[in-house]
Amino acid sequence: MECPMTHTSPFVFATAQYESGDWDSAPSLPGNLIDSVARYTSLPVAPQGVAVPLASDDALRYPLLFLTGHLPVRFTQKEGRVLQRYVARGGLLFIDDHNHDVDGAFHKTATAEIRRLIAPLVPLPNTHALYSAFFTFADGPPTTSHELNGWGDNLVHEQLLAVRAEDRIQVLYSNKDYSSEWNFHPDNKRFMGVDPTRFGVNLVVYALTH
């Protein structure tokens, strides 16, 4: 199988499939972020995202893995092993809680699984290079309309959580529900004053440059 990410091949947005939950709860998000990468950068990017099973070694071929859902996250042994190898080999796993609820099942189980398999998640400073990888977010992660509306846990999360190794982010965890915020058809961006997916561009650029 040809490696999808070499120095000459385009970036491929990959969504992680895991067995225990609704991994495909944000089906429009990949296309939206791909659109943003093309819209704001000159990075070569594949026009369509892929879904890659976390239990497969194919996951190791992608520099950025996106994982979301509402339901409890319990990785199988194979998924856990691949995940450990993935972050050890330089991959960036971005987990977003589609429930945006720190008391929800997704948050509790996902953070426990990351702690068990990799390391505890700790707050990521808002001055981290992630927030200036392409666009500058001086106040840290951009808020989402879901947070501002008070849905989920009624909190506006000021920081993302992360597992880092020598300042490189291995796992990035969000309670902000970017899965809902970015889950729309990219053509609708023309109606928006500020494109909410710009932070997704930072994610991609950071994953490709660190």
Binding site: F134, T136, N149, G150
Partner: protein
């Protein structure tokens, strides 16, 4: 001077006496030649063995620092076949020498005799011509020869012995040199054959034994943590201690404690500074104690220039191993009644403490989920190494409803005292309970078109916001309440228009933004606008799709509605309910708005199910038109420059270089070389366990005074694999 032999000390008695004496000289000369040839043959044979062994070692080692060896050559030259070339070489020398021999006759013996005992050739003449030539002259010369004083001339017997020595000296020297060289090859220390041939150095084993004896023997007491329940043990004069993390390690030695120092260095995850250990004098000698760290460590006990190492190899208390054997896999259940059997098998290296099933029951869909975490069938264990946990899960008692999902796993803990430690967990099984509407869409990909789906989500969120605002109403001012409610009304109108667009698009085939609809616009779209609400026109009449109206019969064939109207009916109903909800929200009456909003949500849900039945489609994947959108964004950013990370060091090559340095150091400073190997082993304990085990054999051989060459070679092969050559070698069968 040695005693004169009969041949030289007595006068010849007779002709027969002359012949007898010369015969004895001839026999001795034959013996001399035979032994000399034999010595030469042996020397050549031993030399052949030496050369072949040396060649084998050189071929195997390639150079003194490289510890790889040629197994085939080595085995051939070390096995039974090793003597064959030597025997053949010796045989060839023997055969060649014998073939060159001239016969030693009595006359030649007499000539040799007269060379050392001049008799004016009387003896030779007598033996050559017999008694008939015996004349008075010959008798006179014989008598004269016999009468000549022995001194200062060398007597014949002494000359014979000297001749034998001169004859044996050269081959004997060659043979001794060959034996010495061969013994060096065979018994040389590790990896230093070539060096040892040129400059023999101190043997490693002697130096190491010396280091041990200088510090005396010691005993190591290992006292495991109390929670483990393991017994204490005593290791006699051990250099390595493998024990549970947290075990108390007590080293007790004999001798004076005054000049002893001890320090422990923890390795593994980066070298840390050594920590000095207190040496406590005791009645018998000294004692030092420490706790087994979580990373490999080494204790150095030193006295003057002599030191000895104690390697600490920690063994972690592993998490319990939990296997969920029932249910055997994820499943979807049709009914929410009955029981499900849960069975888990548990194992632990030290002993179990507790176990239970952990269950998460998730209810809801879309954006609304609630979860309950339950612990079932908790059980305590009293240190058993294994166990079985079972439970009958009653779905009725759990209150499972259609659409719910159960995630179940088994967890077990051992007696490890640290509370933050993760428990041992099994794989998680997901048990889902199907909704009724799923039954007729088994063959359909569970996904509606995105336009309807986005409306559905938005309506649910809007309802959620309205309910929250309604809950806040008693606590906020009326003006604020109305202002917030009107914001929601705007959102409700937006969703309503989106639904309207979908309906019109389906009925007329036109895009949502291409048409304007109003009452009495003269268009026939299959619907008409009445008092702000949409009413389908069927056969010139209208169908009641007002909220609360009785739904049509489920059999499509028995209704007058066209299929397209049937598909859109729920959306029309949702549109009209949204109209009502929007009016109530405009007035700030959230309480009145909530019921029609719920009706709208239910209607959209039904529309979604209908889509799944009728359209049988899946979400169309978004394929971005990259050429159209490339760099079309209004915002600009700047990418950070990529800084390629440094290549990770090749741990195998680093370990290989350290191994070679340590092996070379064994020849110069055996203790330093051994210590280097000990440190190398410690560093490899976790990252290169195979190499670490191989080094353990090397250290064992060194401490026992055995040849460590093979062990070193094997250790190196765990790091650097032999390079496969293409084609067949000379040793292969063609």
């Amino acid at each position: 001077m040695s005693a004169p032999s009969p041949a030289a000390t007595a006068a010849f008695a007779s002709t027969a006496d002359v012949r007898a004496r010369m015969e004895r000289v001839r026999v001795r000369l034959v013996q001399l030649r035979t032994i000399r040839t034999l010595l030469y043959s042996l020397a050549v044979g031993v030399s052949t063995m030496f050369v072949l062994r040396l060649v084998a070692r050189i071929l195997g080692n390639r150079d003194a620092d490289e510890l790889a060896s040629s197994t085939t050559v080595d085995m051939l030259l070390q096995g039974p076949l090793a003597f064959t070339p030597a025997v053949v070489a010796a045989g060839l020398v023997w055969w060649w020498s014998v073939s060159q021999w001239d016969q030693i006759t009595p006359v030649r013996a007499a000539l040799w005799y007269e060379e050392h005992h001049p008799a004016s050739h009387a003896v030779v003449t007598l033996l050559e011509h017999g008694p008939e030539v015996l004349s008075s002259t010959i008798e006179q010369r014989l008598a004269l020869a016999a009468a000549v004083p022995i001194s200062p001339r060398v007597p014949a017997a002494t000359a014979l012995r000297r001749a034998m020595w001169l004859a044996w000296r050269t081959p004997l020297a060659i043979m001794l040199a060959a034996v010495l060289a061969l013994s060096l090859v065979v018994f040389a220390p590790a990896g230093a054959v070539v060096r040892l041939v040129t400059a023999a150095s101190v043997t490693t084993s002697e130096a190491l034994t010396g280091a041990r004896s200088a510090l005396g023997t010691w005993n190591v007491d290992v006292i495991p943590p109390v929670y483990s329940g393991l017994p204490s043990r005593v290791l006699r004069d051990s250099g390595t201690v493998e024990a549970l993390v947290g075990s108390r390690i007590r080293v007790t030695g004999v001798g004076r404690a005054d000049d002893l120092t001890a320090a422990v260095t923890v390795r593994g995850d980066g070298t840390r500074p050594a920590t000095t250990l207190a040496i406590v004098p005791t009645a018998q000698g000294w004692q030092a104690a420490m706790l087994m760290p979580s990373a490999p460590a080494v204790v150095r006990v030193a006295s003057g220039n002599t030191s000895r190492l104690l390697v600490l190899v920690p063994r972690a208390d592993s998490l319990p191993l939990v296997q969920l054997s029932r249910p055997i896999g994820d499943s979807v259940y049709r009914d929410t009644v009955g029981t499900i059997t849960l069975t888990a098998r548990l194992r632990d290296d030290l002993g179990l403490s507790s176990a239970a099933f952990e269950l998460i029951l998730t209810s809801g869909s879309g954006e609304r989920y609630s979860a309950r975490t339950l612990t079932l069938a908790p059980r305590r264990y009293s240190g058993e190494r294994s166990g079985v946990l079972t439970h009958e899960l009653s779905l009725g008692a759990l209150g499972v409803a259609p659409g719910d999902i159960i995630h179940v796993r088994a967890v077990a803990r051992d007696a490890y005292p640290a509370s933050p430690r993760e428990p041992g967990v099994s794989e998680t099984r997901s048990l889902r309970f199907a909704r009724a509407e799923e039954y007729d869409s088994v063959a359909v990909d569970a996904a509606p078109p995105p336009a309807v789906d986005s409306s559905l989500l938005s309506q649910r969120m809007l309802l959620d916001m309205t309910e929250k605002l309604e809950a806040r109403r008693p606590r906020i001012a009326r003006e604020l309440m109305v202002a917030e409610s009107r914001k929601l009304a705007v959102e409700q109108a937006r969703i309503r228009r989106a639904v309207s667009a979908v309906v019109y698009q389906r009925l007329s085939g036109e895009g949502p933004s291409e048409h304007v609809h109003y009452e009495g616009d003269g268009h026939d779209h299959g619907v008409s606008v009445q008092a702000g609400k949409l009413v389908p026109s069927v056969g010139g009449g209208t169908v009641n799709v007002m909220p609360g109206a009785a739904p049509p019969r489920s059999n499509d064939n028995a209704t007058d509605e066209s299929p397209i109207i049937a598909v859109n009916r729920p959306l029309l109903e949702a549109y009209n309910a949204m109209w009502d909800a929007g009016r109530a929200l405009e007035l700030g009456d959230t309480r009145a708005a909530i019921p029609p909003m719920r009706v709208a949500l239910d209607a959209i849900q039904r529309a979604r199910a209908a889509e799944r039945v009728y359209l049988r489609g899946r979400v169309r994947a978004v394929v971005v038109d990259l050429a159209r959108v490339r760099l079309a964004g209004r915002d600009t950013g700047s990418a950070s420059r990529r800084t390629p990370g440094e290549a990770r060091p090749d741990s195998a090559r680093i370990a290989d270089a350290r191994l070679l340095r340590a092996a070379g150091m064994l020849l110069v400073d055996p203790i330093a070389g051994r210590d280097s190997l000990v440190m190398l082993r410690l560093d490899a304990l976790t990252s290169q366990p195979g190499f670490s085990r191989a080094l353990e054999l090397v250290l064992s051989a060194l401490l026992d005074g055995r040849d460590a060459t093979d062990a070193l070679v094997r250790a190196r092969r765990t790091l650097v694999k032999p390079v496969a050559a293409s084609g067949v070698s000379a040793w292969s069968v063609p």
